[in-house]
Symmetry: C2
């Protein structure tokens, strides 16, 4: 067969053909686990289906008929059989798991005849007609595109008519009546009768599952998770087992280890007498998996044994679905479990210790980006906090923001610059956009495996789920707390603690993250594995200290301009800028010298023994001048100017395109006295620090070089100044002089500049701006439209554009190393903290990547992964 593969024909290595679910069902079948038999229609068939304008491709009809015949034979059941009818589930199964994003149809094969047959066979007419009712509803919704609400309304009417509140209170006749009513809905809404023929049902269901690959929430999910549209989804057709057949039936989902903490031990939920969707949808609140041990000890042992075997086989923590039908245990799914950053780390380290995986495999298991959530502040346990509710701790971390009740509102508010917490009774895939932009998620319903919890953990967004005291009323824009006199309106601030489940009124104090032993372990392994050094971009002793704690091996970029914005300095800075001649300028610089020297001394102290790269003043001078009328008035007074004069002075410094203007080394060329002052401050600070026993390695960096001549001119003044200081102090100290490479011209001239420089540091932010001709400040006017129209896949300021900017970097490195093979090459743009970019830097022989302090651990892991990938 070309399109269809039975479960005993495939294996885990065929994910790209069979999808994740299908491949794992095949693998489990092969390994002898109790998997209900079935087959998978391949992802290739899905693509053929789209190519054929959403029609079954050549040969699929025929193969499908044969497959059904074979399945009937194997199961001893038959479609439409009045004794032993075959019922199947039809589920999507993409190559990369997209939980809940695409469609599923259960109980397919039911019709008036087979429902009656099922009733007889199970001796449970209520079960049979409830299944039939559910199937009609699901088929109507998913396959025939009839609003879910139409069926719900009828159900609610029926319950009102009977004066009951729970579905379970409906009797067989009620269900039969509902079946008839549902059929009428289908006829009315589609103009055609419900298809009684199971083969017809199956074709329609397969078509619907294929089509769901292109539903908006699936598209959005793929966008967020970088999954190509071209993968397509497989469809799994599997004979049904029923968790809702009786009180000895049930269903559950669980992880082989705790996906929040990484704790080794089964973790999940189950429900007796229920179908799988009941657990995932969060409509009924499920029970802790460990309770199954008392409920059905034998089944529980079977589950534990299965978990153990699966972990040993897959060498990873598994996320499984199982069903118990009348005491018989069936496996419906296994896959690598999604997990929080901290659990990912803990599991990886423990699996190394258990001998399951190697250190390198452990490193490769970590998503470097996920480390963010481990390193950012969490709630201060000692802080005063007004806890108004406690739910299930579903995704760790602390989050604070304004309450919103709709995904759309979340998106709108965030666009306006607000931070929001999305509060829902339960979330659904339609909420995906809003969840993505929210700081945190709170739901009143659902458990640890609910939609909200799974998605939030995947995003690294804190989440409290199943906070049952919370009563959400989106229509009037508020939520209340059961039995309490508390009303939270849209826009009020709350704080969530996703690690404890606490919901807190207002904003709450936070504390810095502690690096866990496991994280330290894996970072140490990463340090052993990687080639590149990781430094930090830090302008203050505080940042330097934080970065060093996170493992930074020096400062790769210390921006001196940030030192001039303090209240006690901005005035002197403005004096310098407004100086009418060199003498006045030098006088102002003289006042800045001791302040800057102290800054450097403090930073050297924090970085004792590590190199510190200091960049000269870079931004255009007008950035230091006031903008608002009030500030201008004060500024005028300070400098004894009229408002008009002050405005004139500011206007004189105005530039049409400041990014391309009088900044960087151009400032230093026109005002060498600035360079002299900063050089003096650096060297004097270094000498003072050394006197205090600090081991200092200053690396002096000139920004925005485009011509060798600029570098040579400034380097000469710099060295002369340093020699002066050496002479005055009667001592010397080692130092390096290097340059930023951030202009396309510098890349082209790298072979000339490299002859003069001790090191290169690529400023990939500016280089991206110049290469694309994009102003980072203005790009928002068109970049979103570029993403929408698929002209641009990624924001080039987040992930290095390897094709264009990367090509320039490669050329520059080749030219530079051809004349100066030992030239030290680093990167200090924001890309230094982006894993994909780090992979590029590693491949292109960078010696150092420098990033913001909180990104240092991420960069350590990413650098190790890059090295491991290359050496494979």
């Amino acid at each position: 067969m070309n399109h269809i593969y039975f479960f005993d024909e495939g294996g885990a290595d065929q994910k790209s053909l069979l999808g994740g679910k299908g491949a794992n069902l095949a693998e489990m079948t092969r390994l002898g686990f109790p998997v209900p038999y079935g087959f998978t229609i391949s992802t290739k068939t899905c693509l053929d289906f789209f190519d054929a304008n959403s029609k079954f491709p050549e040969g699929l009809d025929k193969e499908l008929n044969s497959a059904i015949d074979k399945l009937e034979q194997k199961m001893g059941k038959k479609f439409s059989c009045e004794e032993n009818p075959l019922l199947v589930s039809v589920r999507s199964g993409a190559v990369i798991s997209m939980p809940g994003m695409m469609d599923t149809v259960l109980n397919l094969g039911l019709n008036d005849k087979t429902a009656e047959a099922l009733s007889k066979k199970t001796q449970n007419p209520r079960f049979a007609y409830d299944a039939y009712r559910r199937f009609l509803q699901m088929f109507g919704d998913v396959v025939l595109d009839i609003s879910h609400g139409k069926f719900e309304e009828t159900l609610v009417e029926k319950k009102q008519e009977k004066g009951i509140s729970e579905d379970t209170e409906l009797n067989v006749d009620d269900l039969k009546d509902l079946v008839e009513k549902y059929k009428i809905i289908i006829k009315t809404e589609t103009g055609e009768a419900f298809p009684e023929d199971p083969r017809d049902q199956l074709i329609k269901a397969i078509t619907a599952v294929f089509a769901s690959w292109h539903n908006p929430r699936a598209i959005k999910y793929r966008e967020i998770h970088d999954i190509p549209d071209s993968f397509g989804t497989a469809v799994n057709v599997q004979s049904m087992v029923f968790g809702n057949l009786s009180e000895t039936s049930g269903t559950g989902v669980c992880f082989t280890r705790d996906p929040s903490t990484g704790e080794n031990g089964i973790y999940g939920d189950f429900l007796m007498n229920a179908q799988g969707e009941d657990v995932v949808a969060g409509i009924r609140t499920p029970r802790e998996i460990t309770e199954l041990k008392e409920e059905m000890p034998e089944v529980f042992n079977q589950l534990m044994d299965t978990c153990k075997k699966l972990e040993n086989h897959y060498k990873d923590m598994q996320d499984i679905e199982f069903t118990i039908e009348e005491g018989n245990f069936f496996m419906l799914q296994t896959r690598s479990g999604k997990r929080t950053a901290s659990s990912s780390v803990k599991i990886a380290v423990e699996m190394v210790n258990e001998g399951l995986i190697t250190k390198e495999e452990a490193i490769m298991r970590i998503d470097p980006k996920s480390l963010d959530q481990l390193l950012h502040p969490s709630l201060d346990p000692k802080a005063d906090k007004n806890v108004i509710a406690i739910g299930i701790p579903a995704s760790p971390g602390a989050a604070c923001g304004k309450v919103v009740f709709h995904a759309n509102t979340a998106e709108e508010w965030v666009k306006k610059g607000e931070k929001v917490i999305l509060v829902r009774h339960e979330t659904s895939p339609e909420d995906i956009n809003g969840m993505h932009v929210s700081e945190g998620i709170l739901t009143a319903c659902g458990g640890k495996a609910s939609h909200a919890a799974v998605v939030a953990r995947g995003m690294g967004t804190p989440c409290v789920a199943g906070a049952t005291e919370v009563i959400v009323n989106p229509k009037v824009g508020k939520f209340t707390i059961k039995d309490k006199d508390i009303v939270i309106n849209e826009g009020d601030i709350i704080t969530l603690h996703g690690s404890t489940g606490e919901v807190i009124l207002g904003q709450c104090a936070t504390i810095d993250a502690q690096i866990s032993d496991e994280l330290n372990q894996i970072l140490t392994w990463a340090d052993e594995a990687r080639g590149m050094k990781i430094r930090t971009n830090a302008d203050t002793p505080k940042d330097a200290k934080k970065a060093r704690e996170f493992g930074a091996e020096g400062i790769g970029l210390c921006r001196t301009e940030h030192m001039f914005f303090d209240d006690d300095r901005i005035g002197i800075m403005r004096e310098m800028i407004l100086a009418e001649n060199k003498q006045e300028r030098e006088a102002a610089l003289e006042k800045l010298l001791p302040l800057q020297r102290i800054d450097f001394e403090d930073i050297f102290k924090e970085m004792d023994g590590l190199p510190v790269t200091i960049r000269f003043l870079d931004p255009p001078l007008h950035e230091f001048l006031p903008e608002k009328d009030k500030d201008i008035a004060q500024f005028a007074e300070t400098f004894d100017l009229t408002i008009e004069q002050a405005k004139d002075r500011i206007k004189n410094l105005h530039e049409v395109n400041p990014m391309l203007g009088h900044r960087g080394c151009r400032l230093l060329v026109t005002y060498p006295e600035i360079l002299k002052m900063q050089t003096r401050a650096i060297i004097e600070a270094a000498l003072n620090a050394r006197e205090n026993g600090i081991d200092v390695i200053p690396e002096i960096m000139i920004p925005l070089i485009g011509k060798k001549e600029e570098f040579v001119y400034l380097k000469k003044i710099l060295i002369t100044t340093i020699e002066e200081v050496f002479k005055e102090k009667n001592t010397t100290i080692e130092y390096l002089v290097g340059t930023m490479i951030e202009l396309p011209r510098a890349c082209m001239m790298a072979h000339r500049i490299a002859k003069e420089a001790d090191f290169f540091s690529f400023g990939t932010n500016d280089l991206t701006q110049m290469t694309f001709g994009f102003s980072r400040d203005d790009v928002a006017k068109f970049l979103p439209e570029y993403m929408n129209k698929k002209i641009m896949e990624k924001d080039p300021f987040e992930t290095l554009d390897q094709d264009g900017v990367g090509e320039l970097i490669k050329i520059a490195i080749e030219k530079a190393r051809s004349v100066n093979p030992n030239l030290k090459i680093s990167v200090c743009g924001e890309h230094g903290g982006d894993p994909a970019s780090i992979e590029f830097f590693n491949a292109n022989t960078f010696n150092v990547a420098s990033c913001s302090p909180f990104r240092v651990p991420l960069a350590r892991i990413a650098a190790a992964q890059a090295k491991i990938k290359v050496s494979k």
Copy 2:
């Protein structure tokens, strides 16, 4: 010898060693012309001199002594000899002529003894002591650095004392007295007595001439004319002949053809009983060279014969200096004569016709940049003009501006944006800066070979010299006209006609230049020789017509945005910009469509049969919005907005770095309806034009492409729009779709973009901005300082930076041609009209260069020269 070469040891091919003057003196000596004997100290020695801290280098002393011995022997004269003293001139002679920029000393060898000897020998004591007086003055000024004024004052006193006005009225005793007084000045000013020893004089004079290589005016001259500092100057020591010995002596300078018009025939001035400096300095008004025929027929014939022979030998028009000593004719100098653009063209063409040079040599003789002056407007001969004086037509062309009397004032006023005419009694090398910035030059004194005339012609600046009626009074800031009641104050406007010598009050009407037959001839030859096509950048039918007259082979860049600034369009444009949705925007575009279509039709008509490249809207939209308060008020009224709202709208469109912002194809991606309108206008216009019998080849160009995806997205919409028009009109037309390459990223991605494009047009202005990270609008804040500090040699917006930007272009072309070998490649930045850049484009296989209409002839010549150079 290492340092010194006698005139019979060298030749014209040794210019770099002997300097231009020395090499030509040697050549003439070799050819048997009557050249007073002497020797040349090499340019290499000059460089050695500077290396030795301005001391004579190793061995020069000794060589100099030997050389003097040899010269004495050859001439039968001796330094300090009381019978037959040797006198010499000491002149600078750089590799590339720098007329008047460096120092000269004449009559060297005179002292009390030799003056008396000269007196006896010539039987002309007055001559001898006048020569002695002049020598002391010149030696004092040039060698001993004593202000010229000190000597002049004494001379004036003497004349007052005697009650006479002319130098010639001084008798021998007066001159002897002046000699004594001059010696006292020298003693007083330098603390040392005048050196009577001629060898001592010679050493000092050589030292002074070497040193004059670094005087400020020489440095400035080299800057203007791109002459490297590292060339150095040679020094020529030559035995004196005297044009001022008697009434049968004289001196002259002349050109073998008219340097203003190119007319074949001798052209110059002479003075009887005078030394050469008298002619050049413009102190005495000289006589027309043709008058020499009557004065001294034999000498005149000798001169004519010499001119003929020199031209035949050098195959170029010569600029010669000669002296007649008591009826004997001597050649002192020959060199290729500086000439105006038009004479350059005429001479080159005629020399081809005379069989002296080839067509290719003729093309290479033209300085493309000089053509500017031929093509810009000149005075309308029919215009009413108030001619207030007539001088010598010394450098052709018309110029108009405000009168200034000092070179410094000229510089200051021009910096403020004024156009000025520099008016001087006579100009001197100190005025060079001021002359360079002036529109035109007027002098009251001096002839066609005066400093003012020579320099002005070299610069292509119109000049009227020797306007003797003009009485200049710089101190009170005015000039008057002799015998007329006319006063022109500083700041008044005058017009000069450098081709007729007219000085006109006020501003005068001008007419377009006519292309001469000779220019047409050489341009035709150039067209045959060149490989690249030359097109024009033109946005209007008028520009297109002008460019076509100048030989443009199509339009390389038609900027559509320029069509939207007209009064009748800017309003609709603003409607379009302020549209709140696509419908409103489309409504405004609908109104622009017919206007734009007519624009294109008119341009197609002018370019009948030639290709027209049209670029879509490029600048950021806010450029179309008003800036001034008054305009904003009117704008607000038109659009029914409050002033606040209007300002808000404008502010919304503001960008931090508009050059890197929402412009070019980014506008078209966000508002495809603009692209649709413009595409429709182009194609509809082309179809209409064709119906009227016009042969149209539209080439549609998308600006600012950085990604293939941008181009593909827009091209698809474009083609769909064109297909729509074709369907509506039931016809089709050929067209091309190409892209600007103006971003570094586009260069890196050229192989991808080239697969989709019919042509590339390099926008070297933007590419230069992005590559350097220079904003053209802001670069003035630092570029001058970069030039001063020699960090930058040339403005990269004038001449393409071949190292950096050029490297990107080379990479782009290599990548592009690797996938699309027949891709048409052009340039449409301003560099398309710069000869050095054109050479680069030719060498890098560009198919087309496009430039402004007036630059088209320049580009035709430059492209031919580039091709000829490569094929050599």
